[in-house]
Point group: C2
Chain length 246, copies 2
Amino acid sequence: MRYKITMEYDGTNLVGWQKQKDGPSAQEFLEKAIAGFSHQQTEVFAAGRTYAGVHALAQVAHFDLETDLNEYKMQESLNALLRELQAPVCVYKTEIVSTDFHARFSARGRGYIYRILNRRGNSPLRTNRVWYVTYPLNIIAMQAGARHLIGHHDFSSFRGAGCQALSPVKTLDKFDITRADDEIIFTVEARSFIYHQVRNMVGTLMEVGCGKRKPEDVKIILEACDRQKAGISAPACGLYLNKVVY
Amino acid sequence: MRYKITMEYDGTNLVGWQKQKDGPSAQEFLEKAIAGFSHQQTEVFAAGRTYAGVHALAQVAHFDLETDLNEYKMQESLNALLRELQAPVCVYKTEIVSTDFHARFSARGRGYIYRILNRRGNSPLRTNRVWYVTYPLNIIAMQAGARHLIGHHDFSSFRGAGCQALSPVKTLDKFDITRADDEIIFTVEARSFIYHQVRNMVGTLMEVGCGKRKPEDVKIILEACDRQKAGISAPACGLYLNKVVY
């Protein structure tokens, strides 16, 4: 049986989605949870690899298991074991799918949100949930800058060191920036992203928002295809994998 | 000089706003922070007493201090000391006000929000931020129930044990219930509230939402003026002091 699961996780204390030797990952917690109730070893495949400190509101994954558990029982079993493991991961949707479905390769799009808290005075309720920026940010300037990034481009200027993607050429379908109370929310969508692309784009746009760069500079940075030309990388804690489209 | 401050706090590990012997409070943290940089003892008065585990998004308080610090420097000094004390409290607005102003007695209204996470599968990102309810809740039924509570009533049925208010008669100006993704948000406003009123109203409406009671039962409960007739008390972690009107 192939199960598709949708989950939320707090990435703060995770090394990311993928299993690694140097710390706990969402994948490791899930595989341990499955082994815990089924006594079977299976690999869990996710739609998007998130990195250390990045959160997921709607990560999608799949795995195969020899069992006859229905969706409801599978989810209850998984969550019971995840709680026992004190994992910062919880499954809130479970579907039985055909073996044609692959969480990563069937995905046609991914969406992320990035949250900046923009005021003087931090938020104790949102520790590790937002990037705290005290400079007043000009949202109109940031929106103008972001428009240069939408579409089909070589994103080398926003490519993190150690990126394993075959090509830096990607198509950005959406880049919205809105204000919600004391936060600025960035919403981005693409078929796929290169390593640190969202964080590097947000960091650069933050520099536009606080007046250090002009909106037109984003176009120049993009065309330079040079990571040195772009701005800082926004911290992981403000980034959320928010949507996977099949 | 009298300073008016607006602050956010995470109530999870606080005994509440007010100083108490049995644990840390927001008031104690603020008074310690003020003493830390000014070497003066002063009392801090807040608009609303929040109880153990309840959060504040916009608690307002005032205090008097012999100093010439401007708003900006006062806030920076306060927040620096609060950080040093590892307080879950942060000030994000500071004003110098006349000595006529009193955070509690000048307040003409208070607003709270209450957040229920309504789905199967908990939220690791919102631990201690929402009440996790797995039964599907009928928002239309809850809205119909809430309408009976709006207006001038004797709220004895929703009065927590140990309430120190002189009268259980209060005027509820607003009670909105909306759905936002996987959450149900209750927004309530009144000049003032009695002890546990919001939590007891939300707990009762949750029972309406899951079908255990009918919307009309809320009217009967209210008129009974008997705490035994109402539903459970919703947990503190979903409650936020959100607004103080002057």
